[in-house]
């Protein structure tokens, strides 16, 4: 199905959907009442079948309860989506909605996540100089990557058989992999402890493994849901094996041996920081808690919501910088 845009139109469509569901609920109750009435009014001519039919008419009342129950959950989801769109509109997301969708900003917790988007949007507007003057990833390269992602999303949305969010997984991985490699290269080269170096090499190898899975073999990720699920499972397994400690050590070492790289990890501009969190979530590590604070209801580490949100923040950054003539 089409993803709904972040706009008043998107809200209107969801409210229409809610109305439709309320209407069908009322209609089905009316149909049930009609059936019960027809059964009762034909009691004399139904013979022994009347017993079965009247019992069924009694069960129709139970079905009304099931309808209410089924719809209540759907209504809550709709309310949740509408609230999220409202939040984003309030944060100024409208106008860039040509390639935006509700899924790209969804998460397990509306309040915290909504606040997060707003907070970082304001942070960049208010403090453009907060970005470090030097970085392991040039701005032009970042913008180039975000454009690539954008193109993939546009292409995906033109083809209903594909899911934009899944394609963004590939796009975002492309966007962050070089950055992650730079960090890991720095750390591997700087580490003095042989055990740590071995661990970094392990992390690096795994990073390549993931990257190869994502980009290798010309596979079309958007058409292969089982592949994504297998990848997610691999990552979860890696974390479960205790590899979360790798990142803690990696970060400590980066901070000690490579202050420039550490800046990249620690800064709070939207794209890089979220990409760092994203990468941290991928290989496991101390930012796990940070991630959980953003998405407390999410247990999926390779969560496409996060990936999509990274993309969304990156797109905003690109737009702002283009507007600024940079």
């Amino acid at each position: 199905m089409a993803l709904y845009p972040i706009s008043r139109e998107g809200i209107r469509e969801f409210l229409e959907l809610k109305k439709t569901l309320i209407t069908i609920s009322q209609e089905i109750k009316a149909r049930g009442d009609h059936l019960s009435q027809v059964i009762r009014s034909n009691e004399d001519g139904l013979g022994y079948l009347y017993d079965d039919l009247s019992e069924y008419a009694g069960n129709i009342k139970k079905m009304e309860g099931l309808y209410d129950q089924a719809m209540a959950g759907t209504f809550r989801m709709i309310d949740r989506i509408v609230a999220r769109i409202e939040e984003l509109l309030a944060a100024g997301a409208e106008g860039s909605s040509g390639t935006s969708s509700v899924s790209s900003i969804s998460s397990g917790n509306a309040d915290k996540h909504g606040a997060y988007v707003t907070e970082h949007t304001e942070a960049v507007h208010d403090r453009p100089s907060a970005r470090p003057s030097s970085s392991s990833v040039p701005e032009k390269e970042l913008i180039h990557r975000m454009r690539l992602i954008d193109e993939k999303l546009k292409a995906a949305r033109e083809d209903e058989s594909k899911k934009g969010a899944e394609v963004s997984v590939m796009g975002t991985m492309m966007g962050m992999s070089q950055e992650a490699k730079n960090l890991l290269y720095s750390a591997t080269g700087a580490g003095n402890d042989s055990v740590l170096k071995a661990q970094y090499a392990n992390v690096l190898e795994y990073g390549y493994h993931v990257e190869e899975k994502i980009l290798g073999g010309g596979r079309k990720i958007s058409e292969d849901r089982s592949f994504l699920e297998a990848l997610s499972s691999d990552i979860s397994h890696f974390i479960e094996q205790g590899n979360a400690d790798y990142l803690t050590e990696l970060q400590n070492d980066i901070a000690r041996e490579n202050p420039e790289a550490a800046k990249l990890w620690q800064q709070h501009t939207p794209y890089e920081n979220i990409a760092s969190i994203l990468f941290a979530s991928m290989i496991g590590g101390e930012r796990r808690e940070e991630l959980e604070n953003y998405l407390p209801e999410s247990s999926a580490w390779f969560d496409k919501n996060i990936l999509s949100n990274t993309l969304e923040e990156g797109k905003k950054m690109v737009k702002r910088r283009e507007n600024d003539g940079r």
Binding site: D44, L46, Y48, M77, I78, S103, L295, E297, K304
Partner: protein, 89 residues
């Protein structure tokens, strides 16, 4: 069955109402499923939406069980009409 009358017109009336009801329920089940899919897709299939969709599917499962019962009743009615019109009873 002694003491209980039975006629094809009454059976046909109920069968028609039953079919309409069945058709309406099936149509609504589809709409609810589609709506849930819309919501799930737009929520990015997060944990909350997964749980809600699972609950919804549980409810729909019970509703569909009631539809099976409606099918059985319709078959019984159709069979009885056939018997009556065929002069078996």
């Amino acid at each position: 069955m002694a003491g209980k009358t039975i006629d094809t017109e009454a059976l046909r009336s109920v069968r028609t109402a039953l079919r309409i009801y069945r058709s309406a329920v099936m149509s609504d089940v589809k709409k609810m499923r589609d709506a849930a899919k819309d919501c799930r897709d737009n929520l990015g299939n997060d944990e909350y939406s997964k749980r809600t969709v699972a609950d919804l599917n549980d409810s729909l499962k019970d509703i569909l069980a009631a539809i099976e019962k409606a099918d059985e009743l319709e078959q019984k009615i159709t069979k009885k009409i056939g018997e009556l019109e065929g002069g078996v009873i």
